[in-house]
Symmetry: C2
Subunit: 459 residues, 2 copies
C-alpha cells in the first residue's frame, strides 16, 4: 500500500515539474483529500500554491484541512481575501478553530476578518474553552430537531440543513430553551414505519452527554464505550452547544496514548511530530527529566559511599550491582506500566488498591523466587566454577539471591503503589513510570543488598 | 460521573435483593446497554440470570454483547435453546464470531447449533481468518447497492434491509460479480437533488479499501486517517466480503496502544484485563523477560569483574556507577520510546534513519554536555566539599563527567537504532524499548566509564 503510494507520488511530482497541469488535475481529482494532503509534504515551498490551485474547489478545501500547519500558513499568506473566504466557507467550525489555534497572530487576524460573522462567533466560542476540554474540540454544527416535528418534516429539515453539518446521522432534539431532551438517528427516521410519527414518539430520552469542561480523554472513552457517532456537549445550564464526532475521538485517543508513552519514557509530551521537531525542541523536552533523575541518583551514590568498606572487603559484591538494580528496575516498571494503563483505561480505580497490592505481592514472590533460584545456579556454575572466581563464595551467592528476591518484591510494591498515589493526589499516574521508579528502586535495591551482605557476611 | 453511577449501582443491587422486580425493570429499561452490562460485574453468579431475565428483549441482547465472557458463558449455560436463539438473532455477525472465539468448545457447539444457517456460515467464514487480520474483525452485514438503481430505489432498499445492518450510512455499490465499484453515503442519497438520479451517477469511485489479510492496526489507522465510518474489506479477487466499523477501530487502537505499552514495559501482552488475570497469569507474562534480562546482565557482571582492580584502586569510582547507568538507561529509553511510537503511527519510516540519527546525535550532545556540566559542579560542591570526601579528586570528577556525556550520546544512538533495526527485520519495534535498551546501555556505560578511568587516572 505504502509502496504503491510512493510510485504515485513520484509520478505526480514529475508531472508538476513537467508542467503537465491538465493531466495532473485529472489525477488529483480522483484522489482522497488525506492522500492529496500527503503529497504536499514532498513539495518545495514555491510548488505548494501551484499544485493547490490545480485542485477542484471542494477537494481543495478538504485537502487544506488535512495539511501540515506550515503548508497551511504558506497558502494563507499567498491567498487573496476571496480565496481565503472560499476555503473558510468550506471548513467545519471545529477545523477552523484548530486552524486559528495553530497560526501566528497576523494570520489569525486575516482569518477572522474573512470568516462570516456566524463562524467568527463560533470560533471565538470554541477558543474560550480550556485546552483538552470537550468544548475546545467540539463543533457547533449539528442537526437539531423539535419534538413536535413529524418524521417527514425531520427528513426535510435534514435535507435542507445537512450540507453544512459534520454529521447528519445523529440528530438532537432540543426544547425551546435549547435544552437537550432526546436524540433520533437517521436510521430510526428511515426505518420508521409511519411518516406521520412525531419525533417525540421516536426519540431516545435516556441521554448520555458530556459537559463543555469534560476532559477530551473522557469524551473519547465514553464515545468508544457507547459506540456513538457523536457525543452531545451541553453547557452548565444543560443547553446543547455542540458535538464531538467519532473521528475527533480517534485522534484524541491516539494523542493521549502517545502522550502517556512519552511521559512514561521520561519526556515532556509534545504535540509536534518528531520530524518537525528540531534537536533543540527534543533537548528541551528531555533534559529536565534527565537532570532531575541524575540529581536524585545522589542518593544511590550516598548509599554506595556508606557501604564503601563492605565493598572493599568483598570486591566480588560489586559485580552484581548492575544486575540487581536492572532486575529491580524492570520488575518495578512492569508493575507500574500495568497499573498506569489500567488507570488510564478506567479498568482500575483507587478503590482497587487492596486487590492490586495483593496480586502484585503474590506475582512478585513467584518472580522473585524463580529469579533467585536460577540466579543462584547461574552464579555458582558460571561465575564460580566456569570462570573460576574464588571470591564468589556460597555465602556471596546466597547474599545476591536473597537480595534479588527481596528487591523484586519491593520493586513491584513500589511500582504499583506510586501510580495509585499519583492518581490519589490528582497527578498524572504516567509520571510514575519506569525512569522515576528506577531511581527509587535503584536506591532500595542497594540498601537491601548491603543489609544482606552486612548480616550474612558479617562485614 | 463515576460516582453518580455507583449510587445507581447500589440502589439497583438493593432493589434486586429486595425483590422489587417491577421497579427494577422500569429503571433498567431507561439505561444504556453498556451501563447495564457494567451492573452485572457487581452481581453474584446466581443473581446474573435473574436480573438478565428482567431486561426487555432488545435491551437484553444489546447488553449481552457488552458483558464479560464469564457472565456470557454463565448465561448461555442457563439459557433454553429458544432463549439462546433469540439472543443470537439480535447479534451482529462480528459480535457472534467474537463470542464463539471466547467460549469453551461445548458452549460453541450449542451456539452454532442454534444460529440460523446464514449466520453460521458467516461466523465460520470470519473465524477462518488469522487473528488480528481485517477478516477476523469485520462484519459481513453491510448494505450493498447496484449501480443502475435510482436514489429512490436505493432508499427503499435501505429501509427494507437496514434493520439487521451494523451501519446503513455507508452503502457499497457492487457489480454483478460482487466486485466493489463504488460507494454512496446516506447523506449523498438524502441530499441528492433528484430522486431519479442513478447510484452510478452519484457514487464515489476512487475507493479506499483493505484486504481480508490486512493487519487490524493498519485498518484502524486508515479508518482514522480517512475519517471513514466503515472500511470495506475485499477478498483476493476484489470481491467485497465485509466492513470494519469505526467502533471496532476505536477498540483496536486502544488494544494496540496497550499492547505496545506492555511490550515496552517488558511484558508479554495479554488480552485479559488486569482484574481478571490471576497472579499466575501475571507471573507467566512477566518472568520470561525478567529471566532474559537477568541472564544478559552477566555481561555487566563480567565488565565489573574485569575492572575489579581499577575499582579497588579508586573505590570512589563505584559510587557513581548507579548514576551513570541510570542516566544512560533513561537517555536511551527516551529515544527508543520516541522512535517506537513514531514507527507505530507511521510518522517515521526506515528511510528516515539518517534524519533520525543526526537529530538524536545533536540532541544527545546538548543533553550530554548540559548533564556533564551540572554533574561536574554537583560532585565538586556536594560530594567533595560539602561531604568532605577526599577520594573524589578533580580527576575523578572529570572521569565521571566525560563518561556521562559519552554515555548519553551512545545511549541515544543505541536507543534510536535498535527499534529501526527491529522494524527492518520485521520484528515489533516495541520489544526494543527500555528494559532491553537498559541492559545494553548498562554494559556500554560501564565500558566507557572504565576506559575513561584507565586513561585519565592511569590505573
Amino acid at each position: 500500500m505504502a509502496e504503491r503510494f510512493e510510485i504515485v507520488e513520484r509520478a505526480i511530482l514529475s508531472m508538476l515539474e513537467g508542467k503537465k497541469y491538465a493531466t495532473l488535475r485529472d489525477i488529483l481529482s480522483t484522489m482522497n483529500p488525506s492522500d492529496v494532503a500527503g503529497l504536499f509534504d514532498g513539495l518545495e515551498d514555491k510548488q505548494i500554491p501551484l499544485m493547490y490551485r490545480l485542485l477542484p474547489k471542494e477537494l481543495a478545501a478538504e485537502t487544506f484541512v488535512e495539511m501540515d500547519p506550515e503548508a497551511q500558513e504558506l497558502l494563507i499568506r499567498g491567498f487573496s481575501d476571496n480565496e481565503l473566504k472560499e476555503v473558510l466557507d468550506e471548513l467545519y467550525v471545529d477545523d477552523a478553530a484548530d486552524l486559528v489555534e495553530e497560526m501566528p497572530a497576523n494570520v489569525v487576524k486575516r482569518i477572522l476578518k474573512n470568516a462570516d460573522p456566524e463562524m467568527r462567533k463560533s470560533i471565538n466560542q470554541i477558543l474560550r474553552y480550556p485546552e483538552y476540554s470537550a468544548g475546545s474540540i467540539m463543533t457547533t454544527e449539528f442537526v437539531s430537531l423539535r419534538p413536535h416535528m413529524t418524521v417527514e418534516e425531520a427528513i426535510l429539515r435534514i435535507r435542507r440543513q445537512g450540507v453544512d453539518k459534520e454529521t447528519i446521522y445523529t440528530c438532537y432534539v432540543l426544547a425551546k430553551d435549547r435544552k437537550l431532551i432526546g436524540l433520533v438517528t437517521v436510521k430510526d427516521l428511515l426505518l420508521a414505519e409511519d411518516d406521520e410519527m412525531t419525533i417525540e414518539e421516536l426519540m431516545i430520552t435516556n441521554m448520555i452527554f458530556v459537559n463543555t469542561m469534560t476532559d477530551q480523554e473522557d469524551v473519547a472513552r465514553m464515545l468508544s464505550k457507547y459506540n456513538f457517532l457523536a457525543m452531545p456537549v451541553v453547557d452548565g445550564e444543560g443547553r446543547m452547544v455542540g458535538i464531538v464526532t467519532f473521528d475527533d475521538a480517534l485522534d484524541v485517543m491516539e494523542e493521549e496514548a502517545t502522550e502517556d508513552m512519552e511521559i512514561m519514557g521520561g519526556m515532556t509530551p509534545s504535540e509536534k511530530p518528531y520530524l518537525r521537531s528540531s534537536a533543540f525542541d527534543l533537548f528541551k523536552n528531555r533534559i529536565p527529566w534527565l537532570m532531575l533523575m541524575m540529581v536524585s541518583a545522589t542518593f544511590t551514590g550516598l548509599i554506595m559511599t556508606a557501604f564503601e568498606d563492605a565493598l572493599a572487603a568483598q570486591i566480588a559484591l560489586s559485580a552484581f550491582i548492575p544486575m540487581l538494580m536492572g532486575t529491580g528496575g524492570n520488575s518495578g516498571s512492569q508493575s507500574s506500566v500495568t497499573v498506569i494503563r489500567g488507570l488510564s483505561l478506567n479498568e482500575l480505580d483507587f478503590s482497587d488498591i487492596g486487590v492490586i497490592l495483593w496480586k502484585e505481592i503474590r506475582t512478585a514472590l513467584m518472580c522473585g523466587i524463580a529469579l533467585a533460584v536460577v540466579c543462584f545456579g547461574k552464579i555458582w556454575l558460571v561465575d564460580h566454577m566456569l570462570m573460576g572466581n574464588e571470591n564468589i563464595t556460597l555465602m556471596v551467592d546466597l547474599v545476591v539471591c536473597c537480595a534479588l528476591c527481596v528487591t523484586v518484591v519491593v520493586a513491584k510494591i513500589v511500582g504499583c503503589l506510586l501510580p495509585m498515589a499519583a492518581k490519589a493526589v490528582k497527578l498524572d499516574p504516567a509520571v510514575m513510570a519506569s525512569p522515576f521508579i528506577s531511581t527509587i528502586v535503584d536506591a532500595l535495591s542497594l540498601l537491601v543488598y548491603f543489609l544482606f551482605a552486612k548480616t550474612l557476611l558479617h562485614i
